[in-house]
């Protein structure tokens, strides 16, 4: 790129202005004439047969227009297709059919003139259930004789596979030391403040569905919607509003189908917005699970091999299981040079909320296990935990480095990240500080964790778990158009959900076309009729750097070339003599010889006969971009599951109140490297926010089910999100190791902080309680858990 005036600028996102004045166009703020409101009656049992449903009384309430049951949904729609094929077909509809399999599963939906009345209708619906035994623990669900969620399947194990890379058995048998430990991860989720919703307007005469939603993956949702409703994609217009936070959670095709069916039945637009209780109970939970991790270590402390047996509890997720497992597989060696990997993974169903995408998706657990393990290994070998890590980091000279599983770490200086981190947290002086504090009866601890933070999912990786090639690669699409007045319009498939895409995209285009930032407008909304899109279109896996940039730049380049060509024609010069700068195409030698973009647009749109003979009118460029780095799994089952790997180091100093078990974060340092920084303000904000999610997972958030499968915390009163008091100020520093594979050298940022944070905090707490010999096992580290760990350690000694 010739101009780089806007790249790297600390521009505050222009989107902020409309949000700070309360003018966000979020989905709940849209309203249409005659619009109805839907409410869903949900299962109160974790597992039961549906004996009968009676909606007669509900339909009598004035203002209630129609109701929909699972039987009707089955008659009116095709089953939603699962990601991985199952030996027996499992029909899954937008409402429960024949059985309910988790508390909160949708059973009946009603549409009424207001949400108030719709909920009144729910009160009058009679559902008769025959409760069945439920299974809540994933290991119990795997045992023969466990209650089966789908009897025809004969098992609750949706997926089980083994991956072997390198001579795993040999490495383990020869290793000087083998360490093994069991780790647990709990259920939590990012809970965007705006809940998921949609408005479906089905025109029966036209057989056309218009859908407004805050779904963050339009590219994936549209085909699912089309298939379920028996429509072609041309019969659907899919529009997104401002999305009030996504973090992976804002996807639920069954709700889209549900609203569409209600609209079809009623002949009116139907809005469905989940309330917070529905959201916490039934939208999506990150998988909980158990991991047995073994690490083979050489005499000199070299990490030689890793063996994992991982059980992911997916709840009732028949639609897209194994995602967490694949991402754990891709991250299994983290920042370290480890030559042999064995990974055995299970995806298991239980009678709980379906799993799904959440900030980090499986990678926080993988990082937690490995980084905790490294501290343990250091302790048991009598080695320094920093030096043990340093010794095993992938050195910068080996970049780009391919891990045993086929993941490509494109760039990064891990030793430097570590050094900066140690300086930032004050590692050298901490030992003294800790001793002094202990003498005063205060228990301080310092913990750290390093993490790779890959981005941009490669659809090919699902071939490993699904056994079929439904999709592959990674891509995004964008359109750039110079309008007839010389202003520049940008439409990007991935509109984001708070990551400042409208600003970042404008910076890229402004640089590419040599115009001012203010001259570029980026549409905040996805509209399937307007936005170019692919199956991979959407906001997920931090793919802005990996695919969106390429699409935006590609589109801008096409327009840029056309501008140069047109100007060359009008100025009777050759395109090589010209450049794009200051809103014009001008001669490199004499800047006064120029044509402004407005003048060029005038010709391109109006004065058509002034165009060169072979040139089309208009000034529009479209780019459907795919990341060249994406590959297919090879015969050894290696694949680049995610591309463009950022990395970070987190370190924290905590204080543990041993009388109460409370953990307080005193200091938190973050060093991150996401390659070239397009906009430091945006990047820093995302780093803060993602880390806060990790803190929530480490100390506060947990979805709890009792033994019968009843969810115990379904409101914000008892599902605890960290507030401004619990989240500390962050000290941040960064490196820039540009990726050789992305157009600007950018790598993903957005989810990163959520990956190492739980590990750093857990390590810090154990460090604080080291003299007591405390070993922690479960997260979150609630005061009670910490106290019990201290209590039982005291008893042992």
């Amino acid at each position: 790129m010739k101009n780089a005036q806007w790249k790297g600028q600390a521009l505050h996102p222009r989107e902020d202005r409309r949000f700070v004045t309360g003018r966000g166009l979020y989905l709940p703020n849209l309203s249409f004439p005659k619009m109805l409101h839907a409410a869903i009656l949900r299962s109160i049992h974790p597992h039961a047969r549906i004996v009968s449903i009676d909606v007669a009384e509900a339909l009598k309430i004035p203002g209630v227009v129609c109701a929909l049951t699972g039987e009707q949904a089955r008659a009116l729609s095709k089953p939603l297709r699962p990601l991985i094929p199952l030996p027996v077909e499992i029909p899954y509809y937008c409402l429960a059919y024949e059985k309910v399999r988790y508390v909160g599963e949708p059973v009946v939906a009603v549409a009424a003139v207001s949400r108030y009345v719709a909920e009144d209708a729910l009160d009058k619906i009679r559902v008769e259930y025959e409760p069945l035994p439920a299974v809540v623990d994933p290991e119990a669900a795997m045992k023969p004789g466990a209650p089966l969620l789908f009897e025809p399947l004969g098992t609750n194990i949706l997926w089980h596979d083994r991956f072997t890379y390198g001579d795993v058995d040999g490495v383990f048998s020869r290793a000087a030391h083998v360490f093994s430990e069991r780790f647990f991860i709990h259920r939590y989720s990012s809970t965007p403040l705006e809940t998921f919703g949609c408005i479906a307007s089905y025109d029966n005469s036209r057989r056309y569905l218009t859908l407004w939603t805050n779904d963050q993956r339009p590219g994936q949702a549209m085909p699912i919607l089309a298939h379920s409703l028996g429509l072609s994609i041309t019969q659907i217009r899919f529009i997104t509003a401002d999305i009030g936070g996504g973090f992976g959670n804002k996807r639920k095709p069954p709700y889209l189908v549900l609203a569409a069916l209600l609209s079809r039945l009623s002949g009116r637009p139907v809005q469905f917005i989940e309330d917070r209780r529905e959201n916490l109970m039934a939208l999506v939970h990150a998988c909980n699970g158990v991991m047995e991790l073994e690490v083979a270590v050489g005499e000199a402390g070299r990490l030689l091999g890793v063996r994992v047996r991982d059980i992911a509890d997916e709840g009732l997720n028949v639609l897209n299981p194994t995602v967490h497992s694949l991402l754990k597989l891709g991250n299994v060696t983290n920042c370290y040079e480890i030559g042999a990997v064995g990974f055995e993974g299970y995806s298991v169903m239980t009678n709980k909320c379906p799993s799904g995408a959440n900030r980090g998706i499986g990678k926080p657990f993988m990082c937690l296990a490995l980084e905790r393990m490294l501290d343990n290994i250091a302790r048991r070998l009598g080695r320094d935990r920093i030096e043990l890590r340093r010794q095993n980091l992938v050195p910068p000279e080996l970049m780009p480095y391919t891990t045993p599983t086929g993941e490509l770490i494109d760039s990064g200086n891990f030793p430097e990240t570590l050094n900066k981190l140690l300086a930032l947290i004050g590692y050298e002086s901490f030992r003294k500080e800790q001793e002094k504090a202990r003498s005063q009866g205060r228990w301080l601890g310092l913990g750290l964790a390093l993490a790779i933070e890959p981005s941009t999912s490669n659809q090919s990786s699902y071939i490993l778990t699904s056994g079929r090639r439904n999709a592959s690669g990674a891509g995004e699409a964008a359109m750039v158009r110079v309008e007839s007045d010389g202003s520049v319009q940008v439409v990007l498939g991935d509109v984001g959900s708070g990551q400042g895409h409208q600003t970042a995209a404008a910076q890229i285009v402004a640089d590419e076309l040599g115009v001012g930032f203010e001259a570029v407008q980026v549409s905040p909304y996805f509209d399937s009729l307007v936005s170019p899109w692919l199956y991979t279109t959407g906001n997920y896996s931090n793919k802005f750097a990996g695919t969106d940039v390429g699409a935006i730049q590609g589109a801008a380049k096409k327009v840029g070339e056309k501008l140069l060509s047109l100007a060359a024609h009008l100025l009777e010069a050759s395109a090589e003599e010209l450049e794009l700068a200051e809103g014009a195409v001008r001669s490199k030698k004499d800047p006064n010889i120029r044509k402004t973009l407005q003048e060029l647009a005038q010709v391109a749109y109006r004065d058509l006969l002034a165009l060169p003979a072979e040139m089309e009118p208009g000034l529009e460029g479209r780019c459907y971009y795919r990341a060249a780095l994406a590959d297919l799994p090879d015969e050894q089952r290696r694949v680049r599951g995610q591309l463009f790997v950022s990395n970070a180091g987190h370190a924290t100093v905590v204080e543990v109140d041993i009388d109460t078990g409370r953990v307080t974060i005193l200091k938190y340092a973050i060093v991150h490297d996401c390659g070239t920084v397009l906009n430091p303000v945006i990047v820093e904000g995302l780093v803060h926010g993602a880390t806060a999610h990790g803190i929530g997972a480490a100390l506060y958030e947990e979805f709890v089910y009792d033994e019968q499968g009843q969810p115990l915390n379904t409101t914000f009163v008892d599902y605890l999100k960290p507030t401004a008091v619990e989240v500390p100020d962050f000290k941040t520093d960064h490196l820039e190791s540009p990726s050789p594979y992305t157009p600007l050298g950018m790598k993903g940022v957005g989810e990163g902080g959520a990956i190492p944070a739980p590990a750093a905090i857990a390590n810090a707490v154990e460090n604080a309680l080291e003299p007591l010999g405390v070993r922690l096992s479960d997260l979150p580290l609630t005061p009670e858990r910490v106290w019990r760990a201290i209590h039982s350690a005291k008893k042992k000694s």
């Binding site: 108030y116 909920e119 009144d120 009163v717 609630t782």
Partner: protein, 298 residues
Amino acid sequence: MKPAPFHYYRARSLQEALDLLSGPAANGKLLAGGQSLIPLMNLRLARPEALIDLNNIPGLSSIRSAGAEIRIGALTRHREMEFSALLAKELPLLAEAIPQIGHPAIRNRGTLGGSLAHADPAAELPCVLTALDARMVATAPDGERVIRAEDFFTGFYATALADNEILKEVRIPLDRRPAGWGFVEFARRHGDFALAEASVLLFADDAGDRCTSARVVVGGSVERPVRVGGVEKLIQGEISLNTQASSLAHVLQRVEQLTETEIQSSIAGGENPDYLCHLTGVLARRALESAMERWRKA
């Protein structure tokens, strides 16, 4: 998440409210701040047939001194109490606890009477007012009566108020000024309900250096505020301004252990009440430490 339908009555006087409670709104609930009630109604966990809105009744919101007591109207908002110079001066224990009630937005609406009538064991005011030996003035169609705090909170979200009774005023005696006071609460996050809490008041002799009596009340982990009599006796016998550091440390440890023992039968915890029991003991100790600190400073 919308409430079920109900009949709404706006009471213009206490008498009107009483009439409604005995008559057309007999199955209704009183609406004061609504900060506990309306969330429950939005969740449809509470579905009262009627709401009697007390917020427009004049004269129920005030903080004043009347002889040897402070009188606070039942409809006084937490925020008013929070910024009351009178309370800060006369009832510093109360002044210490109020800012820990929820968040500013909650305190802007929540009322003293509402909080007490709701009797959430994890709330701050029931514990503190029991420590302060407050008297609740309740009014019914057949007259008024005064209920001491210790008799007012009867159990889990339960009070001694009859169905047709309305809390009108709270009176807190000032006849004895504490030499030291402390309120300590343990919540998961800032502003959350208390997992456990403790209020301690130390009263000294005329010379001001021997502790003649104490009031120790714990809450949060128990169904209703519990006066820990054994601990009160222990403190009374053992603490003075001149107590040596090592002796004091010993007393504090015994306070913690004795609190744990004394409340064990009252703990509201589920399967593993030992943590809450222990926590309550720790807080009793810390509240006492805080009270001692204040005593020394004065």
